[in-house]
Symmetry: C2
Subunit: 192 residues, 2 copies
DNA sequence: ACCTGAACACCGTTCAAGT
DNA sequence: ACCTGAACACCGTTCAAGT
């Protein structure tokens, strides 16, 4: 990779981060290229698709997220580990508006530039789920696909400005559907 | 309304139904006008926005849905009434791909042509929720906004082709988060 | 190697001109 | 009243021409 290309690459990413922060995942590629003072064709050469651009935008965040999952797998109690990681996921989705919808659409399409990222998230969450199920805190009648679905659906929902204020509560509702027999959910344990 | 206008109106709706069935809520307005053998400006005159077109497309279905809610409010047990109506909602969302996302985005925007429809769904579901909460089958720490959010999120999720096959199960997961102490959920009741 | 302007086929919006 | 073609400002894709 030539020096000028390398410079363009990182500069485009910097500008893209700004534009996407403003306009979400359906930001105009043309707009990004203009703000980066670069030909549209140049942007498309570095990132052939919108998904390729987003993959580059979120990959470091996702790496941190999957690494977090690895740590949680040996540390805390399985149920709390799943809940904690789920919360981090929601925080991640809120950092780039619309990205969760892209990932949910891409997660079964091997041709998508986001496919590998989705698979990584999927397997990380599936492992945490299995541990919690083995412990008995997560309901047994769901699998990794269901969890990925619920995580995506919640991320999509709180992406909407009108639901963002209730994000914490909606997270709690979904979490208590997944984690049963959790101390914080079980009212009877606290009586007397 | 003149005779030719009336004819165009209904003809456009017929064609729009076809095109939307094929391409979902982001179908091209131009495409619809072409397939209806009508000028694009004519389509836009009858339905100034995409949301206005969709409002016309779904209004009869939504009327039936809210009427169903009225019936359920006096008939079955409150918990089962809510679950039954929720299921009908999911079936509705699956009939027009992408429409649930439009409604979720429009439900706090009074300027949207879909606002009234969203409000009707919202209030219908809120009433069913209140009844179930009074009975003690629905969890007390959620309100109509939360329910509308969860209903939208599930509708959005099963709109994705990859999650459609698991629609029933995902519905069950969400439902059991809302309805607690339900006979079908309570395993202990069936022992012995 | 890498960049770019330009042509292309789309999209929704708007409006003056038609019947 | 109602319809329409055309102009407009966008969009992403593609590629021949430049350095």
């Amino acid at each position: 990779m030539r020096a000028d290309a390398k410079k363009n690459h990182s500069h485009i990413l910097t500008v893209a981060r700004e534009v996407v922060t403003e306009h979400g995942s359906d930001a105009s590629m043309r707009d990004i290229s203009r703000r980066a003072d670069v030909g549209l064709a140049t942007l498309l050469r570095h990132f052939p698709t919108r998904e390729a651009l987003f993959e580059a935008l979120v990959c470091t965040d996702l790496d941190a997220l999957t690494q977090k999952a690895d740590e949680l797998e040996t540390a805390t109690s399985p149920g709390e580990a799943l809940a904690s990681w789920f919360r981090d996921w929601v925080t991640f989705t809120q950092s780039y508006r619309g990205v969760v919808a892209m990932m949910a659409a891409a997660h079964t399409n091997p041709d998508s530039a986001l496919y590998a990222s989705c698979a990584a998230v999927h397997s990380a969450s599936a492992r945490l789920l299995l541990r919690a199920q083995a412990e008995g805190t997560a309901r047994a009648d769901m699998n990794g696909d269901d969890l990925f679905g619920l995580m995506s659906a919640l991320g999509w929902l709180v992406d909407l400005p009108s639901f963002a204020p209730r994000a914490d509560h909606l997270f709690h509702l979904i979490t208590s559907a997944i984690l049963t027999n959790r101390p914080s959910n079980d009212v009877k344990k606290t009586r007397r």
